[in-house]
Structures are given as C-alpha cells and as structure tokens.
Symmetry: C2
Subunit: 437 residues, 2 copies
C-alpha cells in the first residue's frame, strides 16, 4: 500500500469533473452546455415514451448484465472512490504503532462516519484481541468484583447512541500557526458513529460501588496499557461500555471487542480494548493524563483533566481538497459542528473573514454530543473570500476566535484548539488554509 | 467465496462462548465460575495499584506491539467477525444477477446498518457506473429539461436523513407457511442508513413542473432499466436524490453514484443507478409495478401501487442464529421495529405466543421512517417460550397477527407481509421459527 506515502498537499483529487459549467448556466438549459449523452433529448416533446428517450450513446453498463449478488458478501466502496481514505502526516509521529491517521472529512456527507474511515490513534499499535479469550474485570472499591466474558457482557441491558469521537489534539498543530493543507489534517481527528453497549452505570450497579468511591480507572489491553481516570459522575451519567459501532462489532482499530465511550469527552478517555475498570477514591495520574493530555498554560502550569471537547465547527466543502471548480455561480457550502456539552444550536458562516455572518441551515438530525451537518447556498461572484464557520451550542457557548483563545491559553498548548477556522478562496477557486486572529 | 453456499440452518455460529454460566451466577462472584484469566484478582484488596492487578496469564496481545496506522487505509472488520455477512437462499432466485442477499440482522446492534451488510436486490446485476460519465436527466412535463453531472448535482442544497430501506417482499416466503430458518432470512431484506442528497422537490423547482403533472417516472441505468412511477405528492414531500450512504459515497450495489430514496416506501421504488426522471400526468405501468410488486388478493384481483411499508417488528436476539446459551438466568431480548408511516410509538413483547404482553424499552433514537431498536430483560426459568414482538406506530396502527392479515389478504400475496412473528424457544435454549395464527 502506498496510499499513506502521500504528503499533505499532494492529495489526488477525484472530484467529479464531467462539467466545468456554472450550475446557473446549466440550469438555464443552453444546449451546447449539456453533456453529449443528454443533448439528444433536449429538443424532444414532453412525456414521450420511455424507450424513445434513451440517449444516443448508451453506456456500456446499461447494455450488459452486472455482477451478481454476493460478489462481496461484505461490501466495499466503488473503485472510483479509492481516493477516500485515511491518511497520515509523516512528520507528526515517530513510528506507525504510536501514530495517527486522519478522517477524510472533505469527502464525507451527513453525520455518520463510515467505520472504515474513522481516524486512528494508537500508543502501541492495534492489538489482535481474541474475543473468546478477552475478559473485562471490574474491581477495586466494589462489593462484588467480576470478570466478564463478551458473552456475559451482551446479556446486560443494551443501549445505542450516536456521538462524536474527537482526539483532543485535533488541530493541535495550529496553535503556533502551522497551516496544514486540507481539512483532513486540520480537523480529521474527528468522527461520529452510533455506539451500542451497556451503560457503565448498569455494570456499577451490579458490582455495588462503595460510598466513598469517586473515580474509576479504565485500562486497555494493548501493549501501552493505555489508562485514564474517569470521575464517578461521568461513569454514572452517560459513559458506555461499547461493543458495536455503526451497527456491527467494533472495528479492531476502534477497540474490538470492547471499549469505553464517554460522549463529548476527549477521545483519549474512551479507552479501547478495555480490560479493566478499577473503582477508587482518587485519580491515578497515569502517564496519559499527566505528561500528555494536559494543557500547558502561558505561565508554565498545566491544566489537568480538561475532559470536555468544547464547541467547534469547520467548513468541509469548499476546502483545500474541494476547490470551487465551476467558476462563478452557485455552490453548496457545508460543514460540521459539534459540542461536548450538548446540542448545536446554530451555525453562522462568514465569507469575509468574520466581518459579517449569516445563519447556515442545519441539514442533519441534531443530537447532543454528535456531529451536526450545516450548509448554506453561495452565489459566488468570483471574488476572493475568507470562509469561516462559527458554531453556538445549547449552553450559549460561542466558538472563539484564535485571538480569544490565545488571550487565555497562549501558544504552548497542543490540546483543545477549537478556534474559528478560515479558508481563503482565490479567484481561481482554489482554497488555502490561512489563520486570522 | 463459498460463504453463500451455506444453506439456511447451516449458518455457523460464532457466538462468543467463553462462559456457559448463567449471568446471575457470574454476578454472585463464585470464584470457580470465573475465567482463568480473572481468577487471580478476586481475592485482592480493593484499590491496589494498577501493576499488581495484572492477571496471571497476560495474553499475547498485551505483551507485543500491534500493527500500525494505515494497516488498512480503508478499515475492515475483525477476522473474528467473518461470519457476519450477507447470505443468499439458493432456491429463491434462478440466478445471481436477478437475486437477493439478506442482511445478517441477528448480529447487528443499534439502528444503523453498516453499508457492507445492507441486503442486495438486483434485476440485472450491479452495473459498473463511471461517475464522470453518468448523467441524471430530468425532462417531460417541465419548463427547462436538464442533464446533470454528479458534480452539478453536488452544487444543489443537500440534506441528510436516517431512513429504513425494505424490500416489499421481505418475509414474503411466509405467506403460505414457509418457515425460513433464521432472522437473516425471515426479515433480512431490511436496512437503515443515513442518506444524503438533494430533495427531489429542489430539482423539480429548478426545472419548473407543469401544472397538470402528477407522476414521475424514475429509471435506472442498469441493464434491466428498472423503472417505477412515483406520485408527485411523494416527490414534493420527502423523496431524496441520494449520492451518499452512511457518510460516504453510495456503494455500487446500492446505486452508485446516485439513487432515489422514498423514505418509508417499498425499496423497489427507490430506483438505483438513477439516470432519468420523467415528469408526466399518469403512471407508466412499468413491468415492476404491474406483473411484479403488486398484491394478489384472494379474489384474483391485484392491488397496485401499495407504496407504504406498514408497521412491523421482529426480535433479533434470541433468534435461530442466537440461541440462549447460558441456561436459566438473565438475558437481553432485543429487536427492531419500523413503520413507513412515521415514528414507532411503542413495542410490546410476549413470551407466551401473544397471550400476555409487556412493554419493551426503546433503546435507540426514534426517528420517523427509521429502524428503532427495542429491548427487554428476560429472567428465563428454562421453560419453553413463544417469543413475539408487536409494534405500534404514531398513527396508532398496530402490527397485525397472521390471522388478521390473512383475513384481508388471503395467501396469494408475496409482498407486504408485516405479521407478528414468533420464535419458539426450547428448554435447550435453541430457537426455531414457528408460525402462530
């Protein structure tokens, strides 16, 4: 596989380009502007029979039988979509087992991220866990410690919810002004899936938690023993012990056969390949919540336990990967918004770098702590633009500017960058990542 | 691939079976009942350090580095899940290009069906459509006929919705009492995805529909020219011209690059590989809406244009593929409910063949014309059971018994079978498909 060797900025573009004509012109019905396959029908009288409407050049696929059922018992994308894949940034991590790949946001639609395209983050690679041998242990300050097989776990009441998953380092390269070339790299440590499993509160009720217990350690079965301390309040609220993702079993890189999902919280807390939950009365201060996944402030102190992923948004098209290819005319500008604190209330879009905003339309279902899709129709006059989106969540929190964020946080941080993002659109239709204060 | 040669009843069972102990016993914490890997921790004092909690037999995957990022740039399920796949029934269709494969409902969770497992139905196989060459033509009784490239189509305002897709022949083998062995075959012409595209009403506004127009013909680019007549009322309501499914481009077998989705209506009306929409003032009476996809009544007449998929439900676990494997004790009984007329209001479950019912819990989001997941906790005493689910939708429609359905429809039908389904559970925990009146 050589896919991953593509550097940012060299992403091949498989944008369909059958027509380079502005949509408005096509819609006015100029005959010379139509594709050849359709030109033959334009002068026809209305409501003629189906047979006589066949265009003059009938494509091959209309004249032959296609492949039959179970060509793929487990289906795959069209070969024409092979460009839509996860990608890495070589300089970002020293090796493949402690690395990141990014979700191709520019090509995605709606709010569900297909499981095969969900970003990856490992600290010791993907363990090959045998679900028949795997156990989930719950112990510590509990009355009845237990060890569960996967089969045991599936006998508990189950629940499903759609929630986003975001690495707190998403966009972290941009704190000091780096400008990653593409929305896959600026915001692609982000996904949204339907997660199914057992509420952690259900399991805790079964084991009987001691009154003084206030924290839970979640530990992964991977070689890094990835571990995070989770406050009891979250455990008793909506934390979910998950065995299914988008309807089927968790994918190996997502923690197969079982992981923790803390909706709206740092992806890193959603421990994968979960093997152990220990109940205690204080946090454990593991490596991944002390030396990492804390926010270094301007004064040199670090904020610890900043669990919530704050309200954020980004325009996914146009983007560096999705230039405006039809010249002046109408386009659909769209993007994603999300908040770890609840539902998205509304999203505003600016064409002039934040001087003026207009409200975008929400075009998906709106769920708490899930990605939300927005869009707005642009009638482009060919001038340069500074495209921005700004989301507001149901708590009233407004996504900040870079300046507002840096006034508080400085530029030492890696994590929790949720500033308003700017795409510069050139008269050619090309799009670049720029950073406005 | 030999997967598809498995006959019903010979479906291999990869149910995890690490423990055969009733959940209740496990939860009481009997030491001898635990898996070996966990036995070492049960006598420990609470809240000891993480390191000393390692079980005595540390599995291989915890001691080595796993595979790195981009092992699969487009991810795949765990090899342990290879049994979860679409399947055919050999006797049901004469050849592969005009055949059906079924969704493995017993293994699915939540409401989203992963795109690789969505049932297939072809009339001339899967055409290999080149999206750069493909055109969607809209013509007939319109002011400005147009031919759209895929790139043109993506410039229109876009919207996303989660909706079920069901072949009207789902369960059709059971009208006269056939008893398919497994929920994959009794109800597996069913899926639910997030669909993204352009509202048909948006495109019709662009072309300008004549006042007297009342029907639209949708025609596929496949060799069968699959065509259906759609009333203008549906076209102007929620019919969607779809290019994305579960976040990514439509799969080839689902109509790549563009299809029609009529939420809540017969899957057959949701024409795939859509190449033509003709506006007219009467239905076209195409083959697939006259000789097929009509309901033959007891008197020999056929109902035509029965578009809506009525309220239905089925228990997906236990099922013939998912026996009760732990003897007496607690289990999570779950299933799916759906209605082409709107939201599911509630679902009742019976253990005694419909004599008594108790209300199940809804465990997913509830959306109009989408699958809805329900579940109920069973404390099984080992007696035989006749398991049923009965769904009610927001219009007040109650899913009928077989007797109620046959009183009206007789047994000539193939389509629109939505009777209450019964699984017989034996004291061994095995499950069989039986038909109660």
């Amino acid at each position: 596989m050589t896919h991953d060797k593509q550097k940012s900025g060299q992403v091949p573009d498989n944008e369909m380009s059958g027509s380079t004509v502005a949509r408005r012109k096509v819609l006015l019905g100029g005959l010379g502007l139509m594709g050849g396959a359709a030109a033959g029908v334009l002068g026809m009288t209305p409501a003629v029979s189906a047979a006589s409407n066949l265009p003059p050049n009938i494509p091959e696929w209309t004249r032959v039988l296609g492949s039959g059922v179970l060509t793929n018992p487990y289906g795959q994308p069209s070969p024409f979509e092979s460009n839509v894949q996860r990608r890495t940034v070589d300089w970002l991590t020293p090796d493949r087992v402690a690395s990141i790949s990014f979700t191709p946001l520019a090509d995605l639609k709606g709010i569900i991220t297909p499981s095969g395209l969900v970003f990856e983050r490992y600290h010791a690679g993907i363990p090959e866990v045998d679900p028949h041998q795997h156990r989930l242990m719950i112990h510590g300050m509990v009355d009845r410690p237990i060890s569960l097989t996967m089969s045991d776990l599936m006998r508990f009441p189950s629940t499903s919810r759609i929630a986003f998953l975001e690495c707190p380092a998403n966009g972290g390269m941009e704190w000091r002004g780096a400008q990653m070339d593409g929305v896959q790299f600026t915001h692609g440590m982000l996904a949204c899936c339907e997660w199914t499993g057992v509420l952690l509160s259900t399991l805790l009720a079964e084991v009987g938690v001691a009154k003084q217990a206030s924290w839970i350690l979640a530990e992964g079965a991977d070689g890094a023993h990835m571990s995070r301390s989770i406050p009891m309040e979250k455990a008793m609220d909506d934390a979910l012990i998950v065995y299914a993702q988008n309807g089927e079993a968790l994918r190996p890189e997502q923690g197969y056969p079982v992981r923790l999902i803390n909706p709206g919280w740092e992806g890193n807390t959603c421990v994968k390949w979960l093997r152990r939950l220990e109940v205690g009365d204080q946090p454990w201060y593991q490596r991944e919540e002390t030396s990492k996944y804390t926010d270094l402030m301007p004064d040199g102190n670090a904020r610890e336990f900043t669990f919530v992923q704050e309200c954020n948004s980004v325009i996914t098209s146009p983007a560096p990967e999705k230039p405006l290819k039809h010249g002046k005319g109408k386009y659909w500008v769209e993007g994603l918004a999300w908040s770890g604190r609840g539902r998205i209330k509304h999203v505003d879009v600016s064409y002039d770098g934040g001087v003026t905003f207009r409200e975008a339309k929400i075009t998906s279902i709106v769920l708490p702590r899930a990605l939300t899709r927005f869009g707005i129709e642009l009638d482009w006059d060919g001038s340069p633009m500074l495209l921005q989106s700004r989301a507001v969540d149901e708590t009233g929190y407004v996504q900040p500017t870079y300046q507002q964020l840096r006034d508080v946080r400085g530029t030492n941080s890696i994590y929790h960058k949720n500033a308003i993002h700017t795409w510069k659109v050139f008269p050619t239709g090309e799009v670049a990542n720029v950073q406005l204060s």
